[in-house]
Symmetry: C2
Subunit: 392 residues, 2 copies
């Protein structure tokens, strides 16, 4: 067991109609001039953006808006947001949307409050000393960015996708109304469920430090997400299932499911970041597509955890060797992915990668992690290439 | 499922030797003049207080000290602390100890920053508008006050024990080194484990709103505490068990195990508060002494939850009617209490209560909750009296 820091200052306001409290919460956290940052047209079509701007106008809180945050949000829009905030003296950011809008807003927040190029933080060159205060109205349960310290941005030049983590970036408040996620396409809902599970699994498959209480929480969370993800395949408007998934999304990535461990593995995410950078695939689907290949490749080096996962999460009856039990757990999770219409390899993801593509991704991935990374098993460029090859 | 707010801004710094970071954390949260508030002599005997004052002196942070916080901390000392803080221009409180020191410090913090009598807040007369910032070095895993919004103070006159909850009172940081709890007497360790469990159970036994993910977390937490409490009976210096219990203590009362529910039941706590006010018994032992009688009295009105508790927490094999299964769960928890040397009735608690005592406690309890309270079953004065009688 390792020592740990746990810091989740985000005030969560969860339930039906909670978006009506947005102006009150911005005031509570000191916002006087707001940038409302969002993604595509869905928040306009649904009327949510109008309800938000109406609320701010009724409360006499001035604002400017910036749309256009896309999945794997782009650095170019971040620069645009920074300029806009400076020009308009914005002192509070409100992200309305999912991880793309939130991550993009975090990057804007770092850029406004720190000198120099904001990409430096994502390029591991230096650390941010501040961030503009940020609030969130969440419309997609997936990245957990509404409570997390992390954000992921893609630099268009060279399609480099990188994450940066800092407590300064943790949102001040997160408004979470499960009803707002009901209009999501089924594919995005399933991608979100996969991402949520993976945030806990990246922390779960480690070779050091795990606490029993953390494991119990992680396993309970994973079982809850799986059960409710399957409900949503058949009944996408089920409020309770939406709520379970939404809250699981925040708890999965706010640090809770990693307390006491060695920091986690995170290689499935790193591998997927290369997929996402090169092919612009949905993050959750990319994770599902590589996880099985990663799991089989590293299983022998982290067998007790894979066995435990099989039994406590996937409900596998232990029989035969630990390896057999562990393998059944991996197969059971892949079967679950298929039941919620997620891919379990690159072909199902819709990606036809050439040998050269795989080599490029493995190389960029290795560079991105400074040569090697992973707790379940330390992976180098040649390991990453083998996993990509196996996932094809 | 109900909507909820979840707000746990406390920065937790958990692990061996973490108390060495106290000065750095006080600075991070803006403290310039500190009141170090503690309980009895144990923090002096252990050398912890000296290490803390040395750290502050090395960092040039001026401080004053106030000891004497007792279990069921007294209002008189709170008044003394308020005076001291005002006289010395204290702007930051550091509680070194367990729930008594922390709760007493919270009350001092309310008193310093609000006009009028601080008891008004505990007497439900008005709400605090602020609290001095507060940090904690935790030495007893029990009340969860290190992350919670609540504090409990006893007014000496009439021995009135009352709780007050406000987000303003949530500590800014909590230093949690499980080693610091190793010198606790076994009885206090067991009392702490009981209190920790009860904070989750008060939220678990309800008739409304429960979420699956909250239940999964609650059940995992309860199983973890029971397993490690039994380890500590035989091996009190077991670091990992101490750590599991310590972290469970914070998670049990920071709101996490009640998300989505109707606010919880809390009647076992209210009943115990009267015991604690009248007899000055250890809080955890008082809870254990009345819980079984409360549970049997309310079980029929909350049967699905008691059945679920029996199966998912106590490991009861369902057999016979739901009532039989539920009852086996209650008996199993009482058997656990006995294994960790906790009482299961007033006699075992060492309290010989007269009929008049019981009537007085039931009356004070009913007044304290404005007539009636409880989610598992709504209890009035006559119900409270029957539970006290059954617990004798």
């Amino acid at each position: 067991m390792f020592g740990f820091n746990y810091y989740t200052p985000t005030k969560v306001v969860f339930g039906k109609g909670t978006e009506s409290r947005v102006a009150e919460l911005i005031r509570e956290f000191g916002g006087k001039k707001v940038l409302i940052h969002y993604g595509g047209g869905s928040v306009m079509r649904s009327g949510l953006l109008k309800r938000v701007t109406d609320s701010l106008e009724a409360a006499d809180i001035p604002y400017v808006t910036l749309g256009g945050a896309v999945p794997n949000p782009h650095l170019g829009l971040v620069y645009e947001g920074i300029e806009l905030c400076r020009r308009e003296n914005v002192d509070f950011l409100l992200a309305v949307g999912g991880g793309s809008a939130i991550d993009s807003a975090k990057a804007i927040g770092y850029g406004v409050t720190n000198e120099g190029d904001v990409w430096d933080f994502y390029d591991y060159k230096r650390k941010a000393a501040a961030c503009l205060p940020l609030g969130v109205i969440l419309t997609i349960a997936a990245t957990g960015s509404e409570m997390s310290d992390s954000s992921v941005i893609t630099k268009e030049e060279g399609l480099v996708k990188r994450g940066y983590s800092s407590d300064y970036g943790r949102p001040r408040f997160a408004i979470m109304n499960p009803e707002l996620t009901m209009t999501l396409p089924d594919y995005q809902t399933a991608c979100g469920c996969t991402d949520i599970m993976m945030h806990t699994m990246e922390r779960y498959f480690t070779n050091g430090g795990n606490m029993e209480i953390t494991d119990a929480i992680a396993e309970g969370l994973l079982r809850t997400v799986m059960k409710n993800a399957e409900i949503l395949v058949k009944d996408p408007k089920n409020y309770d299932a939406r709520a379970e998934i939404m809250w699981a999304g925040s708890l999965s990535h706010n640090g809770l499911t990693g307390c006491g461990n060695d920091g986690g593995d995170w290689m499935t995410h790193k591998l997927e970041h290369e997929l996402g950078g090169l092919y612009d695939v949905a993050h959750g689907a990319g994770l599902a597509a590589v996880w099985g290949s990663w799991a089989r490749y590293v299983m022998a080096d982290c067998l007790p955890r894979f066995r435990r996962f099989a039994v406590n999460v996937m409900g596998v009856e232990p029989a035969g060797s630990d390896t057999e039990t562990a393998l059944k757990g991996i197969e059971a999770l892949e079967a679950f992915f298929r039941r919620i219409n997620m891919p379990t390899n690159l072909r199902e993801l819709g990606v036809s990668a050439t040998d050269e593509d795989l080599r490029l991704m493995a190389h960029k991935c290795a560079v991105g992690v400074n040569g090697a990374m992973g707790s379940a098993k330390l992976l180098r460029e040649e390991d990453m290439l083998k996993i990509f090859q196996a996932s094809r």
